[in-house]
Amino acid sequence: MRKFKLAHIIFIVAFIFVFLLLPKSVTTPSQYGNTVFVVGLGLDKGEQQNILLSAQIVAAKPNAASSESYQIVSAEGVDLLDSIENLRKQTGKVLGLSHCYVVVVGDDICNTYNLATLLDPLVRTERIGTNVILAHTENKAQELLLACEEIGGDAQNVLESLTKYNYEYILNRDASIYDFYKDYLSPSSTGMIVTINHAKQESQSNNSSSQQGESGKQEQTSTMPQNKIQNVGKGVAFYNGKKVAAVPQDILRGLGWLDNSSRYNNIKLEHINTKKLKDATVTLNQKNYDINFKASINNNTPTLYITLDIKAKIVGIESPQVVSVSDVSGYYDSVFCEALQTLITKEVDAATLFQQENKLDILNYYKIFNTQLHNEWQEYLNTLNDKREYTQNIQLFVKTTLTEAN
């Protein structure tokens, strides 16, 4: 008996402690009772330089086991933490950020605030996931969240795929808040986030993000105004956390050629003349993409030699000579490669000019030079009055090879 007591004394003590703590556990509301679950956050400029924080929260609803409904709540504050605190006062509950996967920033707030400073509390807390999407909208972020809600989805479902994919590119750019901070903390301090816009449309569209109703049914009336949310391939460039310029579609396309994570779904080559084709438009589907950078500094001019190896399949030819579009395999010609080289050079040159004008290094060329030619690069930087000047001096030479994919 004595042995039994000694052996289990710890359990007896444990029970005593549990009973001591139990009254507090019973009277304290459960974590689910005093927490609202946030699925998306929107940041806009409020009145008098305040921050307007909007949160898409999961609304409590009876019989909502299979489908959840959401609502938007908003509050203003002098900074993000103050806005969160005011939102907590407004809802009477703690904001649970563990399910928040999207943060949308409105254009007005990007123009006014340093985004890196503004979002700092979000990345320092361990309560928010590490893979949160950061998107920009030309309108109000609150409106975009409302549009997501009207479509019937949570912000994550609607915006996640849109930030990475759009009608033309596949995997446009890494778009998480962590990627933004990685760029911000990199030596070039330059980053870019994707723009997602929404608009009301009269007719029903086939866009995947705008077709689902709350219950998953297709809307029948074609004249009813509908929300259309889309990524048309625009972005916003930041330097040191501050917005520098909006990146237009064609520039983003040019940058995309030089970014390893970008993939072009369809490449259109126009005015192609070969032995078999006259003034044809050829559509290639990119299957494989390999990019190599070789850095060099000649006569105090940093130069990047870029080799693009593209494997693509012909998926369409628009030409009077082609009778059947189903069999296009025999039409491949080396002229395609030349046309592709011209197209890429043109688009890359436009993107380079844009970067030079705005002193931007969106694709982090700094890192390539620093890795490949560390000492020479540091010596070169020491010759500059302003360290950002290098962005204006970099020359790019792109060489493209095209192989037909099976």
């Binding site: 000694l6 710890i10 444990a14 549990v18 974590q31 996967y101 361990e126």
Partner: protein, 373 residues
């Protein structure tokens, strides 16, 4: 005397390499070493590996003598107690740090609001109970749980490797070797988990393959842990200082993770193992020390005192991980800087003074030479 099997010993040795290396250590090192942090990690894990191998060699040689008995035999009792005290203080603080790290991980990243005592009290009581039950309980538990830990690590490794750019932190040693050495030095407290193996001396069933497999699996785990941290550094680059818990961030950082659902549970598995097993082993070692130095015969009293000591040290740091981290980075590493070379020298001395039993074998029981065979 209760003995653990060779397999259980190997698993404990492997856990010594892994424990606490994937939580706060990578960030602490990065704060000093910057992009060269991975080399500091390599150095730290290499020191841990050397300790494991040296101690395993000793265990194989002195298979009938416990560590404290061996100290008494080789040195004077007072010196033995001093060495044991230095070691016990280190193990006590390491155990406390492990619990604090795990509790903070739960309170900071898992729960929105939780009564801290609901984690602290059950944790200390569990540890106290396991340390009281002794080696067989620890060995059997590790037999079951090692699968989950390895599975968690492999999943994290596989999902992270698809996204990593291995050139992200190049070039290394931009500012010479000083940052890398500073990083390693200030994080030396994280090294030395394997010192618990000293207290397993004489309590392991010795098979001829013990040393071979311990070295093999420990090297494998050392490589695996280093590679995981290397991936972490390359994924997060300059963002590392923002990430307090490496494994927690690593397990969530992937586009398809949000599509599949959370796999943050992987870090929970690792943390729980840290909490329950490694802290318990540290507590068990402290208990052993108390019994040896203060001649406490009753296990339960020694276990309660060691649990109480855990609580007191946690209280001194106000149950705050960041206070403890500051202490580790600024002061505790000096203790490790002294202790680890002493232990390495001690192991080498014990290795060199070992005499192979030939026809006449000394049998030592409870520190006294009992018979000659």
């Amino acid at each position: 005397m209760t003995k653990i099997t060779t397999n259980q010993y190997i698993l404990i040795a492997v856990f010594c390499i892994l424990t606490s290396k994937l939580m706060t250590m990578p960030t602490v090192i990065f704060n000093y070493a910057g992009k060269d942090a991975v080399f500091s990690v390599m150095l730290n894990i290499a020191i841990e590996l050397i300790l494991v191998l040296l101690i395993t060699g000793l265990i194989k040689k002195y298979n009938n003598t416990t560590f404290f008995e061996l100290l008494k035999l080789k040195f004077k009792k007072i010196i033995a107690i001093i060495i044991a005290s230095i070691l016990a203080l280190f193990l006590l603080f390491k155990g406390v740090f492990l619990i604090q790290e795990t509790i903070s991980f739960f309170t900071l990243s898992l729960f929105q609001s939780i009564n801290m005592w609901l984690l602290i009290i059950p944790s200390i009581l569990t540890i106290l109970y396991i340390s009281y039950k002794g080696l067989s309980a620890i060995g059997r538990s590790i037999d079951i749980y090692w699968v989950f830990v390895f599975l968690a690590l492999i999943i994290v490794f596989v999902i992270s490797i698809t996204k990593v750019d291995f050139t992200a932190n190049l070039p290394y040693f931009e500012n010479g070797f000083l940052p890398f050495l500073t990083g390693s030095m200030h994080s030396l407290f994280y090294v030395g988990n394997s010192l618990i193996l000293l207290l397993f001396m004489g309590k392991v069933e010795i098979k001829p393959s013990l040393f071979k497999y311990t070295s093999l699996f420990s090297c494998g785990m050392a490589f695996f842990a280093t590679f995981n941290i290397f991936i972490f550094y390359n994924l997060f680059e300059n963002f590392v200082p923002y990430c307090t818990f490496a494994l927690s961030n690593l397990s969530q950082y992937n586009p398809f993770v949000t599509e599949l659902g959370h796999i943050g549970w992987l870090s929970i598995v690792e943390s729980t193992i840290n909490l329950i097993f490694m802290s318990s082993i540290f507590c068990y070692c402290v208990r052993q020390y108390l019994q040896f130095s203060f001649c406490i015969n009753k296990k339960i009293i020694a276990a309660i005192i060691s649990g109480g000591l855990y609580f007191v040290v946690m209280y001194l740091f106000s149950f705050d991980l960041y206070k403890m981290l500051a202490f580790i980075k600024d002061y505790a590493y000096i203790y490790s800087l002294v202790l680890i070379p002493i232990i390495i020298i001690l192991c080498i001395v014990l290795h060199s003074t070992y005499k192979k039993p030939s026809l006449t074998t000394n049998i030592y029981i409870k520190g006294k030479q009992n018979a000659k065979v």
